[in-house]
Amino acid sequence: MNTNLKTLLSDKRLWLGPAPVLIVFLLLINLKVHADNQELERQHQAQLLMPILPGRMRNTDAATARYDASCGESIQTYWPYIPDATRQRLVVISGMSQMHAINDAKLGDEIISQCMDDAMMPHGVRVWGEAAPNLCNEEATMQMVSFFSNPKTTPSVFIYAVCFDKFRNVDLRPGYQQFMDGHPEISQAWRQTADQYAEKYPLASAKMLASLRAIQGATTAVRQDTFESRLRDKVGELVPLVGSRQDLNVMFSMQLGSMRNKVLGITPTSKRPIIQSRYDLNREFLALMADLCKDHHVQFIVYVIPLNPQADNPYVPSEYTAFKQWIAGFATERGLPFANLENVVPKDEWGEFNGGPDFKHFREEGHRRTAAAVIQTFGPWLLGTAQSSDVSAVRSVPQPSSP
């Protein structure tokens, strides 16, 4: 050390200026983050609508999960445990948070995909759940492309639980981007699909290519193997504020959201009209999914998710009615097994959200009942015994009864 560094260190202004106080503040912030680590983790889970059980945090044992328990945050963790489709019949069921959220969760509760797997396993059929909160159709397409990229993960049946307000969403979440970035064969299949359908589905194709460009052009956001990402992880081990930045980000976003809701008087049931260009894009993606399945000889099944009959919802009634008509027509036109399971789960099997009835997420009973309804409605396709004439027969939907 020469005189210059010594000069700086011996400068009174350094010790009496803002620097030491800043360091103290940063230390306090880090201590606070460290102390609240568990709570942050819990809030992150709550944001993902993962079932929160006493004493159990994330990272459900991957080997026994039977679904993507990271809820889209880390697909690669669970991907190796997808049942081998070359050895038995595989059914994939995909959708949004309803697929994995459990209101008033108890230890031992199971979600739709697990209930279906239990029921179908004796028939030599395995069921895998691949869901994420707010899943949009581009993400469902990405799931499909990923599943179809390898014979071992190519299912016989792909069931998609369609949720109307997810047609407001676009883009691939970071977990999906990371997954694609880490699997060149999936990136390639994604590009090929976009090119193949560029004329038929120009909006979806352009969006797919834009998403790919964003992933490949990203500096570190989705890259896991760079010096920068390793450095961040290392710093994160030493500095709690950095280590918990993603959880803090979630909490920060939630607080901003609550502030927005208070200021603008927004409630969970405030009407959320469709955003036309996103709606059109999501419709194209759904059509693309149907074509993809046809190309890969995979049975595509679509159903409209159950909603709480007791709770008001944020849908504009006329738009929702038009959507249901459109999707029923779409399924008929494409010859897809389709059902509207909107009324399958009775009012007492839901739960509460923000002090009022939850319109979209149910208790475990709801999961069992939905799983039963899916099996009852689409059973022949799940077992591989359906005839083409069966398609017209599935419009009659089971009504609430004992699960």
Binding site: F25, L241, F252
Partner: protein, 481 residues
């Protein structure tokens, strides 16, 4: 190595400690070495390009331009500098246009497939090299030692995206030993922090919704178009001024003071005022090395001045990017400047222009300038002129109503909140500066204690915010230029 990455922070801390631990005579060589490490961390092969261009400029200025001392000696020097820039940046553009012309003429010629990767910062270090040769030709003493010149040319804070530093602005600093001074370190660290905040918390969060609208195949409605235009206007300001802040702050840590590049550009009261506040080092470059020589050459025909202004600004646009949208963006600003000059002649401002940022009188000019500048950003950001026109049409005809059709309501809300924040910051920055200076002049124990706690609390909040909202080192917009 992106400025807002952890890698850069590690590099900066290491460079700072090593630099100030070394004996004085080794500091300059170390800074040159560190600058090349910084540059080569992106693509090491292009380090040779930078070195080659630097060696040429140093030799040519020292042994040709300074001896001949005439503008004619500049021609070769400028051609060599521009040659590299044209090859790396404009080859595709030129071939694409030649191919289009051939197509129009009915010739069956297609441009060959090339794989040219644009070297980072080439636009900036080319302009710096040309300015150096010009200044030497105009009588300025060239830098005698190669090491001094290499430092001038490659000092990493200004290497990739400016500020475009001219010889007279830094010569004394290069030639005299730098001292580690607390006030420089404090100011430098503060500038870096502000730069991080602007880039990570503001610019990067605006980038996604802006990209969504501009890359959408759907026609944006009035709300989407307006939000995207406003969002991009803020994004590019926060992004580029953040880069300049970090560059200036970094240089200060090593005892060098680079020229300022931004001065609240959205408070400009006229297009001319805007260019005195936006990318100031580029504006001066365009004025001194492009517009002034052209005007001087035709000084007997003053009627040509507006034409030179248009040409200079069109070239300024082309410098930003090899596409006609950028050229038109430059022409748009040229037209604004010509109109501004015409109006200033017709309605000369009374003596004693207001110096305050916001006065009632300056308000209309400020709003009009802001709107015109933001309309220009449409050309800058759009993928084609047609797309820019579609945006303008949507806004004028209130196409599709005022409910967003591409963006989510949250994105529109965020852009609105940031815009309100920008206006608020513009309104309060001068009164706040006055208050601070008043407090410094009349210190009191209570005020001192308050400041002693408030300043670090704000810094800590900013650091926490940067870490939390960080989207992991996104590239700066100006890197593509």
């Amino acid at each position: 190595m992106i400025f807002t990455s952890y890698t850069y922070l590690l590099f900066l801390i290491a460079a700072f400690l090593i630099h100030w631990s070394l004996p004085g005579r080794l500091r300059k060589p170390f800074l040159v070495f560190a600058s090349y490490v910084f540059y080569c961390s992106w693509k090491w092969q292009y380090g040779f390009l930078l070195l080659g261009v630097s060696l040429f400029n140093w030799c040519y200025a020292r042994w040709v331009v300074s001896r001949v001392q005439s503008m004619s000696s500049l021609v070769l020097g400028i051609m060599v500098n521009l040659g590299a820039l044209i090859y790396f940046k404009y080859t595709y553009f030129i071939l694409g246009n030649v191919s289009a012309i051939a197509h129009v003429l009915g010739l069956n010629w297609h441009s060959p497939t090339l794989n040219i990767i644009l070297p980072l910062g080439i636009s900036f270090f080319t302009f710096q090299g040309i300015a150096y040769l010009f200044d030497v030709a105009a009588g300025e003493e060239p830098l005698e030692h190669l090491l001094d010149f290499l430092l001038f040319k490659s000092l990493w804070p200004q290497l990739i995206a400016g500020p475009i530093v001219r010889l007279h602005e830094i010569r004394e600093q290069i030639l005299t030993p730098r001292l580690l001074d607390y006030s420089n370190v404090a100011e430098g660290s503060q500038r870096i922090l502000f730069g991080f905040f602007k880039k990570v918390a503001l610019a990067d969060n605006l980038a996604a919704p802006v990209e969504m609208v501009f890359s959408s195949l759907s026609v944006p409605n009035a709300m989407d178009a307006a939000a995207a235009m406003l969002g991009f206007g803020m994004q590019i300001y926060f992004d580029f001024s953040a880069y300049s802040d970090i560059a200036i702050g970094t240089a200060l840590l090593f005892g060098y003071r680079l020229p300022e590049n931004f001065n609240w550009p959205y408070t400009a009261r006229s297009p001319r005022d805007f260019w005195n506040r936006w990318h100031m080092t580029l504006s001066r470059w365009i004025r001194d090395y492009l517009f002034t020589p052209m005007s001087f050459a035709s000084r007997k025909r003053p009627a040509l001045m507006p034409l030179w202004l248009l040409v200079a600004m069109a070239l300024c646009g082309l410098w930003h990017g090899a596409a006609w949208t950028f050229v038109l963006w430059g022409v748009w600003h040229g037209l604004l400047l010509v109109g501004d000059a015409f109006l200033a002649k017709k309605f000369p401002a009374p003596a004693g222009q207001p110096t305050e940022t916001f006065t009632l009188k300056s308000f209309p000019g400020m709003i009009i300038t802001f709107v015109l500048v933001n309309l220009g950003w449409l050309l800058f950001r759009a993928q084609s002129v047609k797309q820019a026109l579609v945006f303008v049409r949507s806004m004028i005809t209130v196409h599709g109503g005022v409910r967003p059709g591409i963006l989510r309501e949250n994105a529109v809300l965020m852009i609105g909140v940031m815009f309100a924040g920008l206006i608020f910051a513009q309104l309060i920055h001068r009164p706040a500066e006055r208050l601070m200076s008043l407090m410094r002049q009349h210190p009191s124990r209570a005020v001192n204690w308050t400041m002693y706690l408030v300043k670090p609390a704000i810094y800590a909040a900013m650091i926490a915010c940067i870490i939390i909202v960080d989207q992991e080192a996104q590239a700066f917009v100006y890197f593509q230029f």
